[in-house]
Amino acid sequence: MKDRHRAHDRLARALGWASLGLAVPLLTAPNRVARATGADDSPAAPVVIRTTGVRELGHAAALLAGPPRMVWTRVAGDVVDLAVIALALPGRDGLRRRRLAVTMAGVGAVTVLDVYAAVDARRANQFGAGRPGPLKLSASITVNRDPSEAYAIWRDFERLPSFMRHVRSVTPRGDRLWHWVVSAPIGRTVEWDAELTGDDAGRRISWRSVPGGDVDNSGTVHFAPASGERGTEVRVVLHYDVPGGMVGTALATAVGEEPEQQVRDDLRRFKQVVETGRVTRSDAMPWGADAARQALQPAAQPHPDRVDERP
C-alpha cells in the first residue's frame, strides 16, 4: 500500500514539474510556440497561449503543493486544449494543419497519461493492502446482546437476507463454501462463492470470495463486548471490487446505492433483528431502514400494496 502511494505520488509530482516546465515557453515566447503549433496566423494566438501558460502555473502549484488527486485539474485543462485545437483545425491547411494535428496528438497522449494518473490516485486512496479489489469500507453498531448471541445470528448465513437488503440468498455449498446471490443496480444480480476463512465463535467471522465469481470480495465481522453493560460492538470491514470498478461504484452512488450507507443500513437492521427479531417498518418506510429510498418515501399513510414487500 505504501509503495503504491509513493508510486502515484511520484507520477503526480512529475506531472506538476511538467506543467511548470511547459509554462516557461508559453509565457516567455508565445509567438514561437504559436509558430511551432501552426497557430501563428491567428492574432488571438499569443493571448490564448499566455493564458494557457498561467493555467499551467496553476496546475503546477496544485500538484506540487496539493494531493495527487489534483491531477484532475490537468485533465480538465487537457479537455479545454483539445477543444481549442479542434476549433482551430478546420480553418487551416498545409504545414499549419499538419503542425496543429501533431500538437493535438501530443495533447491527446498527455491526456491519456493524466487520466491514468488521476484514476490511479483515486484507486490508491481506497486500496486495502493485500485485499481483493480496490475498495474498502467499514461500519459499526452496538447491539444489546452478548457477543455470542450476536455472533450466532450472523453466523447463520442463510439468514443474512433478513437484514441485508441487497442479499437475495446465501446457500451452503459444502462445508466452508457458501453461494451468494446479490442484487445490483438496474435490476441485475451478481453471484459468487465465498469461503469461510476465519471462524472464532463469539468473536470474529471472516470470508473471502473464491476466483470465478462476479464480485471479488472479502470481509470480517468482529464482535467485542462493549464497556459496562452496553452489549456488543459489531464492526464490519469489507474489501471488494465491483463490476465496472470505479465507474461502477460512481454509477451506483449516482442511483442512490452508496456502499457505505448500505452497510450502515444493513447493520441497523441487524441490530433490529438481533434485539427485536424483526425489521422495523413504517407506513412511509415499509422496506425498513434504507437510506437509498429515504428521499423517495411515500406519505405516512397506509399503502396496502407495499405490506408484503419485505426488505
Binding site: E275, T276, T280, D283, A284, D290, A299, P302
Partner: protein
C-alpha cells in the same frame, strides 16, 4: 377509511385513505374511538417540523379497540380497549431497558435522516413527520400499532375514554416535566405555558410537593383554569414583566425550577424580540422561537432546574448560555418516556388524585378535525383541548 391528512402549512383535510393492514407479527390494528389534538400537532400543522409530507396522517394521542392481532402478539386480543403511548418502543434495546422509551433505538426506520439533523435518532412517533419514522397517525378510523406487546395499556375498568386518553401523552408529559425538576420541600416551580401539558405539570408539581406553582401564559381562561383547578399563581405576560413578577413572588430568589411547556412557537411580551424571531422563523433561518426557554433560564434561581417538555425541532438563536453556565443551572429535557408513567398515573386517575378531563374544551367528530386544528391553533372560542371521536 377516513383520516386527517396534512396538506400544506396551515392546511389539513379529512381524506379517504386505504385501511391499515398488519405488516408484522407484532402489530395490532386499533379502531380509534377517541383521539386528541396535541399542542405539538400544531407545530406540524404550521409546517415547522422538518420532513412533513402532503398526505401524512397526523395524530399521536389516541385510544381505541383492538380489532386485528398479529400472530406473535401475546398480551392483546381483539376487543381489548387500549390507550397507545405516542412514542413507539421495542422494549428490547438498551434505551427501553433503561426506561428511556422515547429513545428506543429500533423504532425509527428513518433514523439515518434524524441522525443528520440531531446527531443521534430518538424513537419513532405516530404521525409525527418522516424524521421520526413516517408512521401513520391516530387521527383516523384505524391505525397500525407496532410492538403491540410493549406499548398499549389495556384499560379494564369502567373509566371513560376521556379519563384515560391523556395517559398516552399529555398527562405523563406534564408529570415528567415536574418529575425532572427533582422538587424538594418548599420549592417554587414556574411553568411557562398553561395549555394542557402545562396544566398537568402544575398539578404534578403540587402532587410532588411544590410549595407554590406559578403559571405563565397570556390567555385569561387558561390562567383561570390553572388557578381554580390546581391553585397556581397566575402571571399574564401580556400584562406584566414576567422576570420582575417572578423575582417579586420569590423575594429575589427566582423559582427553584422552571418548566418550558411551550416549545418552538412561543410568543413574548417584548415585541421587538418577537419580530426578530418571527422574521428568522419565516425565512427558515431558525426553526424555533424560543422565548419561553430564554425566559425560563433567566428567571431560574441559582442552582435551579430548567425542565423542557415543549417540543423543539431544530435550531435556536440567542439562548442565554452565560446565564445558564455561570449559575449552575441543570437542564433536563426529553420526549416523554410515556411507558414509564402510564400505569402509575392510571392509578392516580383511578384514585381521583387528578382529573384529566378538566382541560377538555371542545369535542368534535373526526370529520371536523380541520376546524379543531384551527380553533386550537388560534385559541378561538376559549379552546384549550380538542377531543376527536370516530
Amino acid at each position: 377509511m377516513k383520516a386527517l391528512c396534512w396538506q400544506a402549512p396551515g392546511k389539513v383535510a379529512v381524506a379517504d385513505v386505504p385501511d391499515p393492514a398488519l405488516m408484522d407479527g407484532m402489530d395490532v390494528i386499533v379502531r380509534v374511538t377517541t383521539a386528541a389534538i396535541c399542542g405539538s400537532d400544531l407545530h406540524l400543522y404550521s409546517g415547522y417540523i422538518p420532513a412533513t409530507m402532503p398526505g401524512d396522517v397526523l395524530g399521536h394521542e389516541f385510544m381505541g379497540e383492538v380489532v386485528e392481532v398479529g400472530d406473535e402478539v401475546t398480551r392483546l386480543r381483539p376487543g381489548d380497549r387500549v390507550v397507545v403511548p405516542f412514542p413507539i418502543a421495542c422494549g428490547a434495546c438498551r434505551a427501553c431497558q433503561r426506561d428511556l422509551w422515547s429513545l428506543c433505538e429500533n423504532s425509527n426506520p428513518n433514523a439515518a435522516l434524524a441522525e443528520k439533523l440531531m446527531g443521534h435518532s430518538p424513537a419513532g412517533i405516530f404521525g409525527y413527520s418522516h424524521l421520526l419514522g413516517g408512521f401513520q397517525g391516530g387521527h383516523a378510523e384505524y391505525v397500525r400499532v407496532p410492538f403491540a406487546d410493549v406499548g398499549p395499556l389495556k384499560i379494564e375498568d369502567d373509566l371513560t375514554d376521556e379519563q384515560v386518553l391523556f395517559l398516552g401523552d399529555i398527562l405523563p408529559t406534564g408529570y415528567m416535566a415536574a418529575e425532572m425538576c427533582g422538587i424538594r420541600d418548599g420549592d417554587v416551580v414556574a411553568v411557562w405555558g398553561a395549555g394542557p401539558v402545562g396544566q398537568f405539570a402544575i398539578a404534578s408539581a403540587y402532587l410532588l410537593g411544590a410549595s407554590m406553582v406559578i403559571a405563565v401564559d397570556r390567555f385569561p381562561e387558561r390562567l383561570r383554569l390553572a388557578a381554580d383547578e390546581w391553585g397556581a399563581h397566575p402571571v399574564n405576560y401580556a400584562e406584566t414583566s414576567v422576570l420582575e413578577e417572578l423575582r417579586e413572588l420569590t423575594a429575589g430568589r427566582g423559582p427553584d425550577h422552571c418548566v418550558d411547556a411551550v416549545g418552538m412557537e412561543a410568543h413574548t411580551d417584548v415585541s421587538l424580540l418577537n419580530a426578530y424571531d418571527k422574521t428568522k422563523h419565516l425565512a427558515r433561518l431558525e426553526t424555533e422561537r424560543p422565548h419561553a426557554l430564554r425566559q425560563a433560564i433567566l428567571a431560574c434561581a441559582n442552582g435551579g432546574t430548567v425542565s423542557v417538555v415543549g417540543v423543539y425541532g431544530g435550531l435556536s438563536d440567542k439562548i442565554p448560555t452565560g446565564s445558564l453556565m455561570n449559575r449552575s443551572i441543570t437542564v433536563r429535557t426529553g420526549q416523554t418516556h410515556v411507558h414509564r408513567y402510564m400505569r402509575p398515573l392510571l392509578e392516580r386517575v383511578r384514585r381521583g388524585e387528578i382529573d384529566p378531563t378538566v382541560v377538555i374544551s371542545h369535542r368534535l367528530p373526526l370529520t371536523e378535525a380541520p376546524r379543531g386544528y384551527d380553533l386550537f391553533k388560534h385559541k378561538r372560542d376559549g379552546c384549550t383541548k380538542v377531543v376527536l371521536t370516530t
